[in-house]
Symmetry: C2
Subunit: 344 residues, 2 copies
């Protein structure tokens, strides 16, 4: 038996951190089925060379894989006709409806509670990400419109995912993020649908406490009192913003992993972007990608090897000897990876 | 000559902080034309009593005023048929297209540079705030859609406002906030339109440096390196979120003022909400409202009395003797107000 893992480094530092994650997976040895890696193309750079940001072959090949790791995509600095973000497209094409982003600080002592320990559960297929936009000329200039779509179906499935995650955690607390004081219909639907889930599953979520927060005040409170959050569930765009905000609390985006999960596929992805300013310099932090690999493996049921990866990473962070520049250190990507591998 | 000021405390702590701002304005004496206050109704509580959140009389009376102060509105805890936020409506009805939110920390020493010193310039009339939403039933459940509107006209006028503010500041730096890697059409239009402004005003903005940032990474960097920002210009919803994020940096939402400004009217408004948890307890921080009054007066051309108010507030914060609970003190709203009045 083998584990077929698609690798889509895409742009910028994605090309440095995905190979690091691959090496970390390989180092797990017989803890997991023998990994078989499939190198796949996507990205803005690919688009500028070939006119395609996400080749059909990549999508088809991913469908043959057991799981995948995605790197990061660069954003065009101007509007580019025909270009559309391959990660947004992949999430939809593979119906990876849940973007799960745990943000956890590493306490100085392994027995201490981390000061930040939350999971952002972001809806991954709709909201403004449906990309239904149009523009027209009028007498007073151009007018552009985008559709923000919120469906009961997508809100219910992301809500269930969030409740499932919440009930499995010690605090069992779920905060629903919305802006229904302005978007009473769309965010109203999201909020109501998530709130209705316990009723549809009598008994199952009795222990889960539920709170809600407007997105603006959620960001404010995230910075002031992050400990109030346990699991946060949010429509797509709010989830995007909130997970970056939460990442700032733990020291670096270079530490924060995610998975894009559907009912039949999972794709790990570091939360950071392609970081063009440091790309190609071998100084990108590989930890977010290594942790994304761990999340992906755990999601597939390989909890023990995932824990091994996480513990190795935590040790390296705790010791603070081999850190990349985003964490104030001087280590290269390779050195940071080697430090993790030594702890495995 | 008199200065006719509409007062709309609306809900919750708005009813405590707007009277405080009124008292601060009255204390300015002959520095400004004799203020004449007009008490006006609006709010969610009014809606629950009367079925109207924003009476026509309030809107008409405001049109007869020289300026206004608005408090805060409570958000319904469930979807309420017929209710719509009065502040969102007022911004549109009075065409107060710019929401200007300076976020400035008070340095311990009056001669030191503040560690955070930025202005969020938020477009105030469109984006998802047009509230064009609809919902329908389908075979797979309900589907809700909202329109996000971005026009060239509104982007240009908020952009001009931002460039004007930037050129008047020492650093003369403008950051355009958008998410055009996903919303290439709507945010693409916003970004292009703002970027085109210097070309339309040759010479005027030559000294202004321009940067841009995706909204998610803007929130991240706001927490990590707030000093990179000077003036930030953003579509409505991003501006809403970013100004709350920035408020977290200076210690409390209770410190952050704003004005809603149009070409012929200005309305001051604290950035904080109605804070139902502390409403009626006389412990709300009046500083955001007093500073909003100062901003409003400065916008009307009364720079010297506005400076007097700001300096008095800064002194009270610096001395740290009379602070409300949000700042870690024990003072009441009245005591905090009195402390400011003593410094005037
Ligand atoms: C690159 C971009 C399209 C993407 C998003 O907005 O989802 C990124 O910010 C993320 O968080 O994964
Ligand atoms: C109360 C609400 C409608 C409002 C907004 O979203 O604009 C508030 O958050 C603000 O920032 O003034």
């Amino acid at each position: 038996q083998s584990l077929k893992i698609g690798l889509v480094p895409a742009d910028g530092i994605g090309r440095e951190v995905i190979p690091a994650a691959r090496a970390a997976i390989e180092a797990l040895g017989s803890d997991i089925p023998k990994p078989e890696f499939v190198d796949l193309l996507a990205g803005f750079e690919l688009f500028t060379r070939t006119g395609t940001a996400l080749p059909d072959e990549t999508v088809e090949a991913l469908k043959e894989c057991d799981c995948a790791l995605f790197g990061s995509v660069s954003s065009p600095s101007k509007r580019v006709t025909g270009y559309s973000s391959p990660i947004v497209a992949l999430r939809k094409k593979l119906d990876l409806y849940a973007n799960i982003r745990p943000v956890v600080s590493v306490a100085p002592n392994p027995n201490d509670k981390p000061s930040v320990d939350l999971i952002v559960v972001r809806e991954n297929t709709e909201c403004l990400y449906v990309k239904q936009e149009e523009i027209k000329s009028t007498e007073s200039g151009r007018e552009a419109r985008a559709i923000r779509l919120i469906t009961e179906r997508a809100s219910a499935r992301i809500g269930r995912m969030a409740f499932e995650l919440a009930r499995a955690r010690p605090r069992k607390h779920l905060t629903i993020i919305h802006k229904s004081n302005v978007l009473s219909v769309t965010d109203g639907l999201f909020r109501e649908t998530v709130r209705a889930i316990p009723k549809q599953n009598p008994g199952r979520y009795d222990d889960v406490t539920i709170a809600e927060q407007l997105v603006d005040s959620a960001v404010y409170r995230l910075f002031r009192e992050p400990q109030i959050y346990d699991v946060m569930v949010a429509p797509n765009l709010y989830g995007d913003i909130i997970s970056d905000a939460a990442a700032a609390l733990v020291g670096s985006l270079g530490l924060v992993p995610s998975i894009n999960a559907g009912d039949s596929f999972v794709m790990g992805e570091p939360v950071h972007g392609s970081a063009p300013d440091i790309a190609g310099k071998n100084i990108a932090n590989p930890i977010a990608s290594i942790r994304s690999a761990a999340l992906m493996l755990r999601h597939l049921g390989y909890g023990a090897p995932a824990d091994r990866l996480d513990k190795a990473v935590d040790q390296v962070i705790r010791e603070g000897q081999v850190l990349t520049p985003d964490l104030g250190g001087k280590a290269t990507t390779q050195e940071a990876l080697d430090a993790v591998l030594r702890k495995l």
